[in-house]
Amino acid sequence: MSSLDAVVGAIASEPRRRVVEHLADGPATVSALAEVLGMSVPGTMRHVDRLAEAGIVLRTKAGRVVTVELVPGSLDPLATWALQHRLFWGNHLDRLAGHLAGPTDRSEP
């Protein structure tokens, strides 16, 4: 499986995206994440596992406390994919067509 597939699979879940968004503000404990999700700790652990398998987050143990943090650059394959030329231009030309078909077009001579 490519790293892109792994990343896309990992964030194809609303709770996991919320975990990622929360971690964008800094590392958090699993219990803090469980609170954010309104979910049990074991349930939260499952989501963290998926994100860790895809290389998006990293677990660090300090004493008895495990914190979860984002891996810098791990979402880059997603951004790179979205900016690849064929997708980029296809998307942009569709929007150009939509723009030119828009209401302001009617006022053109």
């Binding site: 900016l83 030329h85 296809g90």
Partner: protein, 142 residues
Amino acid sequence: MSDSTVTVTRVVPADADRAFRAWMDPAELARWWWPQWPDTTYEVDARQGGRLRITAPSAGVGVEGAFLEHDPPRRFVMTWTWVDDPAAGVPADAAVDTVEVTFTPGDGGTEVTVRHTSSGHDGGDEQGWNDVLDRLPGHLAS
């Protein structure tokens, strides 16, 4: 590594003058280029040798280029460099691509064709990306 060219074509419901202007007028670009990022800035010096600069600081992406040919409303050719960090500008080792856009009048509008040629400077992932992306045109055309 040899150059690779991606070609994408759409028919837009406007004449060539109007379609060409949508690329050259910053106010028009703002309506369709990256409207999802409101802090995007658009600078276009619409003439041969003029520069184009579009940056979206909130998204951390931008593009810079210069018009190698500027022939309204038929065609323009420009250099094209992706900028990852708009605040830092173009990195010294950035790949410089070429983008050619042609406007061909036809039934029901203007055929707009983008040809984006990459130098292959980045190498590596390109083949993998192409494999993924070859599935997309059908989806995008539907």
